[in-house]
Symmetry: C2
Subunit: 507 residues, 2 copies
């Protein structure tokens, strides 16, 4: 036993590739099946966590999968089924006999069955629903009916509900009898005579209480709950904030009709932060694990946003195009060299703030109506950031020019050369001459642009997500691409306005 434990220890600790992370590999599993080693197979199910076996089994042939179900004890395969991926589940539904299916499906939680059925082709879904017993079918249909990403869709209907007049002893007996069907027995739910939800009892409080105490005496009254239409992001937030083990879900009539347990809440939190992270990088969130995405599924997460950005980029292109018309580039080509750096700085400074906003709004660290306070916070931070970064930029741009990393280049075409003539180490044209005398003026131009761009960018980076949230839109959805465009244009305009100020002869 100890040896097996050592074996498993490798799972969590290895930082290596996927293969090493698995306590059992696909090959090992396949070998046990090929050799019809039922004892070995059963031993694996006793000692290796289901999720690890399921990962090894996901790619097995249906005949091998069904072999597992026919030879391992049902108590072990029930939770194993739940951990398999959608494809494997569907393959099993296709190949199992009606009797086998009835057994496997009714051993699942209604919420897990609903999740799986919701993504199955219609013929398989109806096979599963036919296999489900009456209660399960009712529950699954109820759950399927709620909108995706709401508490209703992620809750389970299997929980223990007691009258507040029930005694501790009665509650313990009920747990012994019906506890196995419930999703959790660590939190018990309590209603009053009028069937209103009034509190929860933690299992450990039952153990500490006297046997004849009514639940009303030991229950927690300071409980939080949500309704079926509560957004799942909010559900995750409640678990985080209140350190819950389970959360009550009420319907519109304020009756308790479901609960959400911490393991499902953890999945939701992960899903929500995956989603925010995808949005931050201008992607559509994926609805399955990355390694299971096809090339097309993977590609279609990206290109819509690349196209949106391309279209939004038209504004930048137009502005740059109009500036060209004013021949600023031609009188001072070095200006162009700093356009990408300035744009990157503006975009990044705003992106930092947008990131904070998106995350803070998602975690409810603040609400959209706090925008003025946050603006003020970001304004102060932006000014400090701008001063430091711009001072550094002044120094750095001076160094770049002095060391020759960046050179003031004058076209050598004869016609053009008449306008600006390179003459040893100095320029003779008025514009270029002014410039040569003012390496520092140019560094100051870049620095000033940077300062203004950083401050403006932080302000816009604050406003866009707050605006989205105030309009009840996902702040992560539009903020990032909008910011890029707005800041590209803004930075260009600031830069060239500054250039005209610093080099008046050019304007």
């Amino acid at each position: 036993m100890d040896d097996e434990n050592k074996e498993e220890k490798k799972i969590p600790e290895t930082e290596g590739p996927e293969e090493e992370q698995k306590a059992i590999s696909k090959e090992e599993l396949k070998e046990l099946i090929d050799h019809k080693d039922v004892a070995g197979l059963r031993a694996v199910f006793e000692t290796v966590p289901d999720i690890d076996i399921a990962e090894a089994a996901d790619d097995l042939e249906p005949t091998d999968l069904i072999y597992i179900f026919r030879n391992v004890e049902a108590k072990n395969t029930a939770s194993f089924y739940d951990e398999l991926n959608q494809d494997a589940k569907e393959a099993l539904v296709r190949t199992m006999t009606d009797k086998e299916l009835v057994q496997v499906i009714n051993a699942q939680s209604a919420d897990d069955v609903a999740d799986t059925v919701g993504e199955m082709p219609a013929n398989l879904a109806s096979r599963v629903l036919k296999a489900a017993d009456k209660d399960m079918r009712k529950d699954v249909n109820l759950l399927l009916h709620y909108k995706e990403d709401t508490a209703g869709a992620i809750m389970t209907t299997e929980f223990l509900l007691f009258l507040d007049t029930a005694t501790v002893d009665e509650a313990i007996s009920a747990i012994r009898e019906r506890g196995k069907e419930a999703e959790t027995v660590y939190t018990l739910f309590v209603k009053n005579k009028s069937r209103d939800f009034v509190g929860t009892v933690d299992l450990d409080d039952l153990i500490w209480a006297k046997k004849d105490q009514p639940l009303s005496e030991i229950m927690n009254r300071d409980v939080v709950y949500c309704t079926t239409s509560t957004d799942q992001e909010e559900v995750g937030q409640m678990f985080r904030r209140y350190d819950l083990n389970a959360l009550a879900v009420l319907n519109e009539d304020q009756k308790l009709i479901g609960i959400i347990t911490i393991d499902d809440a953890v999945d939701v939190m992960t899903e929500e932060s995956n989603e925010d992270m995808a949005r931050l990088t201008n992607m559509e969130p994926a609805d399955k694990p990355y390694m299971e995405l096809s090339a097309w599924e993977n590609a279609k997460r990206s290109f819509p946003w690349l196209i949106v950005l391309l279209v939004l980029g038209t504004f930048t292109t137009m502005v740059l195009n109009r500036l060209e018309a004013q021949q600023i580039f031609i009188s001072l080509p070095i200006l162009i060299s700093f356009v990408p750096t300035l744009m990157d700085t503006g975009g990044n400074a705003g992106g930092q703030t947008t990131g904070i906003m998106i995350r803070g709004l998602a975690l409810k660290e603040f609400g959209p109506r706090d925008w003025a306070r946050i603006m003020w916070k970001e304004l102060k931070a932006g000014v400090i950031n701008g001063l430091i970064t711009a001072s550094f930029a002044f120094l750095w741009v001076s160094i770049e020019q002095y060391t020759g990393l960046v050179k003031v280049i004058v076209p050598d075409q004869p016609a053009y050369a008449r306008l600006i003539v390179w003459n040893g180490s100095a320029f003779t044209s008025p514009v270029a001459g002014a410039f040569a005398a003012h390496v520092f003026t140019f560094a100051a131009l870049v620095a000033c642009t940077m300062f203004i761009a950083i401050v403006v960018s932080k302000m816009i980076g604050t406003l866009l997500p707050c605006l989205a949230a105030a309009l009840k839109k996902d702040p992560a959805l539009l903020s990032q691409p909008m910011l890029t465009t707005v800041m590209d244009v803004a930075t260009l305009l600031i830069y060239f306005a500054m250039a005209c100020l610093f080099f008046p002869s050019m304007a």
Copy 2:
């Protein structure tokens, strides 16, 4: 009671600003204290979750805070203290009498005390440690000794450990006696004679088991565990993967010395995804909530990365500067107009992939050694993305030119005009003439550049995080700024190489 419940319901459900989210406001709390309404205060502690009261109390004067501790029952203030922010805790440690402090501190968990003490000024920390009883002090010192962000630093030393020969009845008695001191009684830990950790027992299994059964018969043997040095990111991952309620932490001698409970794991997961998200937007992660950061603390998260990007931007500036030397801009100024859009596309396409990589590596969806498989996946997705986006770009750039959104601008300075002369609707210079005849050639140039930039960018976006992970660095740390720089330079070079191909007369 029902009414109070309705009151609280507002907490989770309102999407509004912070003020409304609170079940009790600072003003309400202050009023209770000012009116010395002890009964009202006690009622609040019975019906409002501690975290909500703590948030209202965080900004109270120390004298008001201490009033709460002196008038509310100790059983309620213990957990309330834990939810206060660091400033409020420190204020209390300063103002409490020795006796009060002893009571409050010893009612805390050792891990929470360690977290607080670790950030206190030395004089306050030593006051707390003096107030702690011997066991608590030992535990706190032990926990303080582990490196930040490891399992050792987040674990708690208060858990129930039984011999595998103990009976169910003995275990239940032990829970009744010592359970309140443990962080959780939902998971019990089991060792064998040689003090090796051999399994866990869930509390509900105790209820279902026979009273005289030894724990060895009912315990789970397929358990996972970590060591004190395991990174907290990995801890979060184990909770997610194995749906744990509590996780065993072993020391180097393989003995169980602590446990991590799900509520602490949830905090860790949130912290880790905050960190990844900060990195994705080129920021240093913050170690406290956003609203508590000072302007300077807020600013110093951003500017180091803005400066790094500025320095890295030198490469882009240099490349653009060298290209100017070849006068490509002057012969065909319209080229410049598309530089920002192309750079944004390249940066975004790579950023999407980097985001996937960082998240996938963090959640262990794959490991760094899977890089070849992922490269292949991203190459396929990149080609699809590139084809679609580039086709669209071809169309869009043609439209931009035909509608006059973007114009081919010819300088009007007389000297320059001799080189390229605008002549009604056609160009007379060879370069410009060729261009006017080939609006589509130019659209094709932008489209081809975009295709190559997207594919290259997705490849680099895959490699950088894998490389960082393979070198045991945080993939989120350097990938994003590096990618920006590499792709800015790469996009420029691709664009101008393509330009020379498409407009050979220019080269």
